[in-house]
Every structure is written in C-alpha cells, then in structure tokens.
C-alpha cells in the first residue's frame, strides 16, 4: 500500500538526516567511511508488504520495551494522549464515533513521521529520566554520566527490548563510540552529565524510530 512506502521513505530520510547531523564533525566523516558494511547481503523481498504498526501497537511496544505504563508513553501538554487522541489519525488509526473516520487513512500524512518522532522522543525521555533518578534503573544503568562500560550494555538492552534482537558489532560501535563522542563534543560548554543524558535519549530514539521498530 502506498501508505507504507510513503512513511518508509519519509522516516528513512529523517533517519539519514539525523545520522548525518550527529556524525558531522571534523573527524566524523572519515570514521563513518570506515564503518564495516552489513555482514550479509540484504535479500530483496519479491512481494514487499510490510505494515506500519499503527498508533496502538507501536505504543504498546514502546510501553513494554521501555517499562512504561501505556498512559505514560506520550501525552501532549501533559494530558492528551498522543496515540489515542491527538495524533491518532496521523499514526494510522480511525476515529469513528467522534469524527466519522470509519477506516484509517489509506496513506500516511505529512505529520505522520513528526508524530512518530514525538511519541518516541517522549517515551525515551521519560525512561531515561526515570532511570537517572532511580536507584534501580531499568535500561540506562550506571551513575550519570554513563560510564564507558555501561554504554555497550545499554545499546544491547535497547535492541533486545525494542526490536527483539542482538545489536550487530558495527551498530554497537556506532552508538557507543561515534554517537557518544559526537554528542558530548558538539557543545563543550554543556556538562558531561547533560551530554550523557542526550546520548541516552538519542540512542533510544534512534532504535525506537528504526524501520524494524515501526514496521513489521
């Protein structure tokens, strides 16, 4: 369906842009070029028919993966559910009784990727902040700033929880070395603790908004 492919292309573009923005530094370009390629060639599906999870399935997955209550995942202005109310239609839902949308829209909208980003960012920020304040963090372990040894553990946890697989070595390298180094060096005047928090949120956001997380 055209809905799926529009969302894929827009989200893929956002992902590429964000990756470029984060990695763009005096030293970043050469490091990116040295990243190993995927270990196996990607097979082309003869009948591609992946589906966007939609507002509720994706919210459920984020809630379960990030150990949040479903009502905590994202609320606009702190009280209006992003997935059930505000961005419901943009995220592939219907609104029959109130708006007469008896079926979901056949294609994604211009705000669909924006809405997806907001939901993911909200959930990730919530989890990171909860873990930073908690004596028993769930995912983002280690005292702030996140110590070297814990960053790899965090990435593995994010991959297992959000997309139910192990992170490949080059993926770990990207998050642990490149992303962390660039986030913490972009604004030297920002404290290391704040940079580390940004790294945690961004890492969670990148995995949560990956195609594997959004589609199936």
């Amino acid at each position: 369906m055209r809905y799926k492919y529009d969302l894929i292309s827009i989200l893929a573009s956002l992902l590429v842009l964000s990756a470029i923005a984060v990695a763009c530094s005096d030293k970043g370009d050469s490091d990116l070029a040295q990243m190993p390629p995927p270990q196996q060639p990607v097979a082309v599906s003869p009948q591609p028919k992946i589906k966007f999870k939609g507002h509720r399935r994706w919210r459920n997955d984020l809630a379960r993966a990030l150990a949040l209550d479903e009502r905590e995942v994202c609320n606009e202005m702190g009280q209006y559910s992003c997935t059930e109310l505000v961005h419901r239609i943009a995220l592939g839902g219907s609104a029959a009784e109130d708006l007469g949308f008896y079926t979901p829209l056949p294609t994604s909208t211009i705000t669909s990727p924006i809405a997806a980003d907001r939901v993911a960012l909200s959930a990730c920020i919530k989890r990171v902040d909860l873990d930073l304040q908690s004596q028993e963090p769930v995912i983002f372990t280690g005292p702030a700033p996140m110590e070297d040894g814990h960053r790899e553990e965090i990435i593995h946890a994010l991959y297992r929880r959000l997309i139910q697989r192990e992170a490949a070595p080059h993926e770990v390298t990207y998050f642990v070395e490149l992303l962390y180094r660039d986030v913490t060096s972009l604004a030297p005047e920002v404290s290391l603790a704040a940079s580390a928090r940004d790294w945690a949120v961004l890492s969670c956001f990148v995995v949560a908004t990956s195609m594997e997380s959004l589609f199936y």
Binding site: E97, Y102, R161, Q164
Partner: protein
Amino acid sequence: MGEFSLTHAPNMSNVEQACFKSFLYIMLQSAEDARRGYMPRVTTAVVTTALLAPILALAQTMATSLLGRHSALAMPPGPQAFCDHYPDSPHCRVGLPSCALCHTQTPMRNNFGADVGDALRETLPNASQPLTELQYEAALPAALDTIDARDSDGDGFANIAEITAGTWPGDCDSYPIEASGPQPYDRRYVFKKISLDVCGHSPSYQQFQDFDELPPMGQMEELHKRLDQCLDSEFWQGPDGVLWQLAHPKVRPVASLRYAGSDNGLPPTDYHDDYHLFVYSQIDDHDARDVLQANYFVTRQESPTRYARVDEVPTQIMQRERRAGLLTTQWVMLYNVMFAPLPRTAAAQAYRAFLGFDLARQEGLYPIPGEPMDYDDQGVDDAECAQCHSTLDPLSYPFKNYNGFHEPVFQYQADRIETHFAQEAANITAMPEAGAILGQPVGDLIEWAHVAANSDEFAAATVREYWNLLVGQPPSPNSDEFERLWRTLAQEHNYSVERMLHDLIETEAYGAL
C-alpha cells in the same frame, strides 16, 4: 391548426403520447371536415384504428418486454454474457464483474468498453443503434474475441491476459504481476505477526528465544496456540479493539446520536448493541452469518471483556420474528431508515457492508427487468438513474415495512406505506415487499438476509476483510489461497471466523517474506 403540446403526461410513454396527439388531431380535423360537408376523417380513423389497435398493442408489449422500460439505454446483460464467455476469469469467481469492467460511469465507457463497442459495430454493421439486448448478447462473444489480443488500456498487457489474470483491461494502473513462484514460509516472522496483529504487541526477546528452540512442528503448534491466546485478548475483541474497528464502516456510529432517542421521547438507542452482535459473531465458534440472521442480541461485560447472547435488551424493540441481525437494529432504523418510505440507504449500506458491493461504484449490479418502478416518484426511472436503481429499488423493497421514526417507531409494520405515505405518490401503495438480491427474488427481509448470508459474495467479503487486515493488501485477483479460504469458511468451518484465521496464518500470503 395550432400545435398541441403535452406539457405534463408523466405516466405516458413516448408511443402513448404520439398516439394521443394523433387522436386529438384527427378529432379536430374531423370537426372541420363536417363543417365543410366532407365525411369526417374520424370515421376513417375509427375504422383504421379498430383494425390496427390490437396490432399496435401487441407490438408495444413486445417492445417493452424485449427492450425494457427504457429502450434507449437498456440494462445490458454484459456482466453475465462476459462470464458466460470467460467462465474461468477471476472476475467471475465471486458473482458477476462490476460494470467498471467496461464503463467509467454508465453509459460512458473506458478504453476497453470503447473497443468492445467498436467491435460490436463491426460484428453487426447493419444493426441500428443502440442494439437490443438480444443483439448485444448474441454479438458480444465474437466482439470480445476480436479484441482479445489488443491492449485497450496501453499498459503492456493484452486484454485476454488481463481478463485471465483478473486485472482490469480498461485501467492502465491495473495489470498482471508476474508470479515469483512459491516463497519460503517463515515461522518466526509469523510468530511476530500473530502477536502484533492479534495481541497488539511484539513478542519479547525471550519469547523469540524460546520459539527459536522449538522444532519446526513445535513452532507450528506454537503459532496456533499463540493465535488462540491472542483471539481472546482485549486488543482483538475488547471495546475499540480490532473487531470493533472492523465494525465501524458497517455500523457508522455518530457519537452525538448514540442516546438521541432518549432525549426526544423515543425509545433509547445504543449502537453498541450493533458492535456487540458483530463481535460475538466473529469470535469463538460462532456463525458469522448471524450478522444478518440473528434474532437475538448480545451484551458485554467488562474487565475482562466477555460477550453473552440474550433474547432481549431494553434498547431494542423490534419484533423477534422480524429481526435480521444488523439489518434491523434500532440504530439502523434510526440512522438509515429515518423517514424514508423506501429505505434505499439501509439496503445500499447493507449491500456494501456485508457483501462488499458499493452501488455508487456500480458494483453488484443485477438489473431486474421492468425496474425501477419508481413507486415513490423520485424520478429514479430516468435513464441516468435507472442504471443503478434497477438493482437498488428491488433490493430495497423488503425494507419497506420497517419503521424509522414513524409509529410504531423502530418496529415492523405490515401496512407502513398505506398508513404513513399513501399521499406521497400516486402509485406508492403498490410497492411490494418482495424484492430481489443478487438476482434472486425474495419475499421479505428475512429471506433477503438468508440469501445474502449464504451467498459466495458474503463468504468472500468476510474473508477479504481479514485478509486485508492481516496480510496488509487485497488478495490478487487470481489468488487460489484466498478462494480456498472463503470456500472453506462456508463449506467446512460453518462460517467460524476463528477457524478461518487458523487457516489464514498458514498461507504463503501471510507467512512468506
């Protein structure tokens, strides 16, 4: 003498109007003849008419029966003739093809339809236009054969290739997709899909690990077990769950009207009764045909959600012997019947919701000879309207005795038309309760529902909804898997949707990447 014109003779055909004008002319001229001393031409006219009248009457009767009421744009037997000529075309697997095969909007034709028209003219070069139905039916097969090799829509595929594949030969965006051969079934992928589609969330990392350790047969068992668990989930059958979402286009709720009855002195109406009945018919081993045939209702308890069948609920007052599932609920009477003497909206909505035929797109047209009779004088017998109303009006007659807002509200009334609408149109009380659906005559709405529920179209429409939902795209026109699913639903599973879903998860369409 001056010209005489008939400015208002709504019930006269053109032939009748011409005869009447001729008669008046003769009478007037005869008066003039008598004044001049000649034998009045009326005498000649009377003798001539006496001799010719029976012949003329016979000729008009034959013309009406052969050509239909509207000979200029007779209802074409095209879809049936097409399927007689191409019985194996996927267009003919479930009912008859839509008029969109040849038409953009009848009578305007698409490229394929235009080529058919040209071929017919070449086949019958001396026939006057438009062709009679008999001429059309006789010439169509040869005309179709002459354009088999042509590519009418210019999409690179010959008409015969598209007809064989089930795509639309008049639509350049519709063309056969080359089959890529069987694809490997991925059990791990299906495990994830079932969890997401039916339970509403992905399996956990650990659940994937456990699944991976099972042998292949164990994995298949786990898939069916997982499906069974998820079919009981709130995500699937709870309020605003997946099944409720499927019901939205059928029920068409309006939040502001949900309790409207109770605010206006009318019996309270709650369209959640409709949702409950729909969900109940789709779960466990219940019969999906009850959406059209149930004479009972369903209540719902919460935490956890459970549905129970009951004979009566306070928000439904339709007489039990007149109930037909979701065709006769209070909400349908309120929203789709309302004040209409002939509830065409109710009939068209049911046709679309349960059989998958959208009359507005010229789908499911089964024109009935002599229709529409336009009992309520809405002008639907005009040529442009009759294309669809020759199907819609007979489809609607069985709804005519079901009250919306007229007393007794929301109930069946045998003399509804005579009581409430007798003055609305000259012929309205002649409206029958007997009608037709899918070309079959039916005596009342109960019989209407029975024919609909037991049709191939209903089985295919039911399965298509779940196919679209779970596979993610409509079935290809020549999908054997799809056809097997809906035939098995009807012939082996006694219309149990859940059993059909257990078959669906094993299809290549669902399980191959």
